[in-house]
Amino acid sequence: MATKAIADYRFPPADSQDKFHGAQLLYVGWDHHTMFCAPFCWPFPPEMRFGDLVEDVFPGAFGYHPEFARIDWATTTWLKSGAPFVPDFDKSLAGNGLRHKDVLRFVTPGLHGLSGSGA
């Protein structure tokens, strides 16, 4: 549906990829771990290795959670925009088909949050 306006009403989107100095945005959330109140948002170069995200970036972001150290990445499953997604850790973000403003979720079987609360 078009926005009703008195005159032409079209503007360039505020967050198109060209505004991020070569990076693209990626959102990542840890399912059933709402102690982190919301998924995270990062700007990454598209050529960044996917494994670096998990190995280098995640500890700083998710590491405060006592269950983080217990994650078994081999059994962790992933969703991209809600659909199953199998990342190749050695390929780049772009090589994994990730585009600007894609959203990933990961599910860690056996981990149910603080005192099993989903937090």
Binding site: I6, H21, C37, S115, G118
Partner: protein, 515 residues
Amino acid sequence: MSMTDHQRLGLKERYALMTRDLAWDTTYQPMDKVFPMVHYEGIKIHDWDQWSDPFRMTMEAYWKYQAEKERKLYAIIDAFAQNNGHLGVTDARYINTLKLFLTGISPLEYMAHRGFTHVGRQLPGAGPRVACLMQALDEIRHAQTQVHSMSNYNKYYNGFHDFAHMIERVWYLSVPRSFFDDAYTAGPFEFMIAIGFSFEYVLTNLLFVPFISGAAYNGDMGAMTFGFSAQSDEARHMTLGLESIKFMLEQDPDNLPIVQRWIDKWTWRGTRVLAIVAMMMDYMLPKKVMSWKEAWEIYFEQNGSALFNDLARYGITPPKCIEWAAVDKEHISHQAWATLYQYGAAAPFHTWSPTPEELDWLSEKYPNTFDKYYRPRYEYWAEQHKAGNRFYNTTLPMLCQVCQIPMLFTEPTDPTQICYRESDYKEDKYHFCSDFCKEIFDNEPEKYVQAWLPVHQIYQGNCFNPDVDPTAPGFEPLPAVLDYYHLAAGRDNLDFEGSEDQKNFAAWRNLAGRD
């Protein structure tokens, strides 16, 4: 003879002569040029004379009664300041609610002032124009009385000092600000529903009645006075909002689907902004009056259903989002406070762990949800804090494209699962916290693609002061962002425990021989 004429006129007839009879249909300039904004939203008005004035105040009466209110209000503000009334509040934690108020709400009062001036110029009907302009005048009153009331707090406490700068920049303040920018940039009819209905009827009733009653209960006579005094004007404003809806619906059946969509949209927009008020009531008032859930039930559910039942005769159905909101009422205060707690390094007010007694109060008020979903995280954080490991989340969150709140809300069917929704529009993806924010976007994507989302703006490099070089070696973005916010790191932010506010309040109270 003239005097009998004068005396025979009732309030209504007299008021009509004092307002709508002053206007005329222009002939030297076409009406469409004088009132160019009245058609494009698709609302059809056939007869502005059918407008029924809700309150009938002439300017004389307005000046007289408003001046009386102002005299009372400023006498109390003065006395409160002269007597160091700020030291009489229950606990310095309370003062943080006022920081949220001044940075997040007062600037909206100002926007309401300008918005009603604009709509008061643009509506061709003299009845609603006068009501709008009177409201425009009231709204600058609210902005100013709030600034004046909190001016004294600013002198003694941190976090108040640059509210006008912060509302334009700080991440969570984009929530209330974008709410109002959205209404302001809508057409004049939508504005009336957005502000007259959603802001006045849904939002301010909850903020100014139960919350302000809570402020009084916590010893803040200053806030109580500006709050109740403002709300006395809001009573007029609510009736204006209600009359606007009725008027549009009565004028033409084609208006129904448009008005319905606006009611649905703005009920949801208002509900989302209220997450801030929810946490103010449940977590930030040291002495509690009622829980958020109870306030919501009285002022939204009971009052709202009365309104929607009333509007049913025009074919209006209650917004679908009400069912979702009924689930959310047991969650949002806990989720919102958890968010501000963890991002407490980037907010210009203090956060804290609820005391054990407060946790028990929350369990009692939220028997279905608190112990099961929320107590564990608050207890864990308190423990960690005690051990010297206070939780500060330093990774930026994903935001909803429409309400701009971090994506913290959970699925109505599963409180452990964050709710994700998305839409593709042109080249890009857009993400939302709920079905309703997504629907709002899908209805008007050209509007919401413009949103100034604080997290994205930081990553674009737009939230650093001009003299900062983000490419310099060792550049630390987060402190640079706090500088851009004019947030005094270590004074305005972080936990209440150990804050300058806490120490000063205790020391000053001690001087007064209290505690």
